[in-house]
């Protein structure tokens, strides 16, 4: 394998600055929303005393879950020793850090008192999985940064395997922790299941890789650097397995709940009578997040279609958002069962499905976090040597004919000889 | 030892600020006059350490249920907040509000009154004239002060 050359992107074009400006504007909109949420109060959001976690949490959990999953690409290289993925490892670690910062920013800015962040850092209650997650998140950023450093600094390269191993284990614990934020909640029908932790791990594998593929394809198209079909198809095949994994854990989760009489009411709600939540489950999580990508990835006629890879990855992202929306908001919409078998009514919405309409500030805050993530990536690839100059199949020593990849269609730059 | 030094420096600076604030001069903040006969501690002590007292009282009250009728925020309010000539109480944002008279001046933001009321409560008693208990407390404070000074190198 030839010595890979990483290079900063030039970043002088109008398009580059336009993209950066657009992202910065969305970040500013998110910060404005957070400012008003803090000073006027959560009254300006759609959140209530019934739906206490809303769209900001959906986006934040999606980003945090994806952050740990996106690091898998680097782990495949250094932990599982697959050399071709080394070229992708830097982008993988960078995306992991950026996604986590984006998600964490949303979570923090949605607090009732973001000004008391210092309290969250100085007062810990160790029976709280939330408190553990604060450690896990901050640690993850540190470990990923260290990982990026040992990969980028030639003299430290030899540490990339042990550091990569720590990062890989850390990310598994982190996603288990994120899933357990919900899994440990005994009171709600939707939660109180240990399987939420592995479901979240599977989700992270799938969403993270989908985001990685989209960012990779966009970066190489916009910088006009060559991106080979073979590596994309390898990533795609992996993504298909991950998407199927999510479907599997989702199936087990719902079958378990259906089997227990006390949870059947909730299952009927999500699977049948829940209106938007039912729609999001079937159209979003199952169809878009599972069926569509699996068909696009494995049907013979789309075998060499990059558009199919991009569309499948996008479908997984949309389906993933729908699934997390259901997991967080659908779970709160379904009423708590304090009096089993009784008809219940009160002024505090006991016994009724709780209404929730996302508001503009919440969406702005959520999008702001996404934009912050992308802004970090866009800036970092210009400042640091994150992206290889050449990801054509030949750079990986992959034989395009071996797995039937197309030649580098759309590549405007051909690798020069004798580099 | 760097941490304590920094804190010490900050404290010296804030004391300096308070000293400047209280030293007379044209820019001196106008501290509204209190109603009671004397404060729960010596005025000089309170100027420097009221936050220690407030935090202590806060934690003990909330977590342990120790309620000292006078050393409470409503207790402070009942003495230090009076109606303005127009008949209203000063608002939390007003410079005429007791805490603000100094806090605005030294630029230290306080976050007590997003939850606590900043008006006197008719039910909370004003500090009464010094009793035997007060005198004993004052004496014990004095003693601990002296003992502490003696130990200080």
């Amino acid at each position: 394998m030839r010595e890979p050359r990483f290079h900063e992107v030039e970043g002088r074009s109008l398009a580059y600055w336009g993209l950066a400006a657009l992202l910065a504007a969305i970040v500013a909109a998110g910060l404005t929303a957070a400012y008003f949420m803090e000073h006027i109060g959560h009254i300006i959001t759609g959140m209530t005393n019934q739906i206490v976690w809303g769209v900001p949490h959906v986006v934040a959990v999606f980003l945090i879950v994806s952050a740990s999953g996106v690091l898998n690409v680097a782990s495949i290289a250094s932990v599982f020793g697959k050399a071709p993925y080394k070229l992708l490892a830097r982008l993988s670690a960078l995306l992991a850090i950026a996604l986590l910062i984006g998600g964490l920013s949303i979570l923090v800015l949605d607090l009732g008192h973001p000004d008391r962040l210092i309290v969250a850092m100085t007062h810990y209650n160790f029976t709280s999985i939330f408190a553990w997650n604060i450690f896990l998140y901050l640690g993850f950023i540190a470990v990923s940064a260290a990982y990026l450093l040992v990969m980028m600094e030639r003299r430290l390269n030899s540490y990339s395997r042990p550091v990569g191993m720590v990062a890989f284990l850390w990310r598994l614990v982190l996603t288990t922790g994120t899933g357990s934020i919900f899994g440990f909640l005994v009171s709600r029908e939707a939660y109180d299941e240990a399987i939420l932790a592995p479901l979240f791990v599977a989700m992270s594998f799938s969403f993270g890789l989908a985001i990685f593929i989209i960012v990779l394809m966009a970066a190489y198209r916009w910088t006009q650097r060559p991106l080979g079909g073979a590596i994309l198809e390898r990533l795609r095949n992996l993504l298909g397995v991950f998407a199927a994994g999510v479907l599997y854990f989702l199936l087990v989760y719902h079958v378990t709940k259906l089997y227990e009489a006390k949870h059947r009411g909730f299952e009927y709600f999500i699977l049948g009578t829940g209106g938007i939540y039912t729609l999001l489950f079937w159209i979003g999580a199952i169809f878009l997040g599972g069926m569509v990508p699996i068909f696009l990835f494995y049907l013979a006629r789309y075998r060499h279609s990059r558009a199919a890879i991009g569309a499948g990855a996008l479908a997984i992202i949309l389906g993933g958002l729908a699934l997390i929306y259901d997991t967080i908001i659908g779970a709160q919409a379904y009423p708590l069962t304090i009096f089993p078998g009784m008809q219940v009514s009160s002024s505090f919405y006991d016994g009724v499905v709780n209404a929730y309409t996302p508001s503009l500030p919440e969406c702005a805050l959520g999008l702001g976090g996404v934009a912050l993530t992308l802004l970090i990536v866009v800036s970092a690839v210009r400042l640091f040597r994150i992206l290889p100059e050449n990801l054509a199949d030949i750079a990986f020593d992959l034989d395009p004919h071996e797995i039937g990849a197309t030649p580098n269609r759309g590549a405007l730059w051909a690798p020069a000889d004798g580099r | 030892m760097r941490g304590p030094n920094v804190i010490l420096l900050l404290e010296m600076m804030s004391l300096l600020l308070i000293a400047v604030a209280c030293s007379g001069g044209a820019s001196q903040p106008a501290v509204p006059k209190a109603k009671g006969i004397h404060c729960v501690r010596d005025t000089e002590w309170m100027r420097r350490n009221h936050m220690e007292l407030l935090v202590r009282e806060r934690d003990e009250t909330v977590h342990q249920g120790i309620r000292n009728k006078q050393e409470t925020l409503p207790g402070c309010m009942s003495c230090h907040v009076s109606r303005l000539p127009d008949g209203h109480f000063p608002s939390v944002a007003s410079k005429k509000f007791f805490c603000n008279s100094c806090h605005t001046y030294v630029g230290v933001k306080i976050d007590c009154f997003s939850c606590h009321t900043n008006r006197p409560d008719g039910a909370t008693p004003l500090p009464r004239a010094a009793t035997r208990v007060d005198q004993l407390r004052a004496a014990s404070l004095q003693r601990s002060e002296t003992a502490f000074k003696a130990k200080e190198p």
């Binding site: 006027i40 109060g41 959560h42 009254i43 209530t48 019934q50 206490v52 976690w53 607090l111 008192h113 008391r116 309290v119 969250a120 007062h123 209650n125 029976t127 709280s128 939330f130 934020i181 440990f184 909640l185 005994v186 009171s187 709160q332 009096f339 009784m342 008809q343 219940v344 009160s346 002024s347 919405y349 006991d350 709780n354 209404a355 | 010490l8 002590w45 350490n49 220690e52 202590r56 909330v62 977590h63 342990q64 249920g65 120790i66 309620r67 000292n68 009728k69 409503p74 997003s114 939850c115 606590h116 009321t117 008006r119 409560d121 039910a123 407390r137 014990s140 404070l141 601990s144 502490f148």
Partner: protein, 249 residues
């Protein structure tokens, strides 16, 4: 140094004062009303006692469908207002339940159940949710960051989040924007030896459906009732051991 010195002075002053206050309250405070029979008279400067476990027993047979006395007493003592919006706080609420088969109907107040194993306390990342030595579950709003995880965890919907700026709070019940709140069992009243506002109102305006007292005291009315009649604890499957129990369900 100044900070540490101030702390020491506080300590010395406090020890001295507490001693005095304890003596004073024995000598000077016979007017403090006793709850039950054998419990402490709770002088205001005394520490919450772990030998005591405050509890409520609510007799749903005596709870009238139309009566809102407990709710309005709580709202007025603690200064919260329900204007019918889903963002409004409700520390206590009247819930109507009906068995759809038999038509059996009851109304009852639901409030913080002050669990011995509270889910809210377990999940709180900063320790702002805590259980006092005498069993009262509270939020220390000085360290509450407003994450609402406790509201996700509570099986009884006992907590509310303050969605907007407040003014004119009650001096005895500070509450404010961006923090989570709920029934405090009227802790300032308990510390002063009185019963919670809802219990007082129920006895005065209602049919006396609520009994307040020390669950650990074998001679208290609440303990004798619990021993004599079968009572219900909500979500008993979760084994949270609530201090609020119901009779007649």
């Amino acid at each position: 140094m100044t900070r540490r010195k101030a702390k020491r002075e506080l300590d010395a002053g406090r020890r001295r004062f507490l001693g005095m206050a304890a003596i004073a309250s024995f000598a000077l405070a016979p007017g403090v009303r006793l709850i039950g029979s054998a419990q402490s008279s709770s002088p205001a400067s005394a520490r919450a006692n772990s030998k005591v476990r405050w509890g409520l027993l609510i007799d749903t047979n005596k709870c009238s469908e139309t009566c809102q006395a407990c709710v309005s007493a709580c709202a007025s003592y603690n200064g919260w207002k329900n204007e019918g919006r889903p963002t409004d706080p409700q520390w206590i609420r009247k819930v109507a339940i009906r068995d759809s088969e038999t038509g059996l109907a009851r109304t009852l107040p639901v409030l913080c159940q002050h669990c011995a194993e509270p889910a809210c306390v377990e999940v709180c990342p900063t320790g702002a949710s805590f259980r006092r030595a005498d069993g009262i579950v509270l939020v220390d709003r000085h360290i509450c960051i407003g994450c609402r995880y406790c509201m996700m965890a509570c099986p009884f919907k006992a907590r509310s989040f303050v969605h907007q700026n407040l003014t004119d709070q009650r001096p005895q019940a500070p509450r404010g924007i961006g923090t989570v709140e709920g029934c405090t069992m009227c802790v300032p009243r308990i510390d002063a030896g009185k019963v919670p506002a809802c219990v007082e109102a129920c006895a005065r305006e209602g049919r006396g459906a609520m009994t307040f007292g020390d669950l650990n005291d074998r001679n208290s009315a609440i303990r004798r009732n619990i021993a004599a009649y079968s009572t219900t604890r909500f979500r008993a499957d979760l084994d949270l051991d609530p201090s609020v129990q119901y009779q007649g369900l």
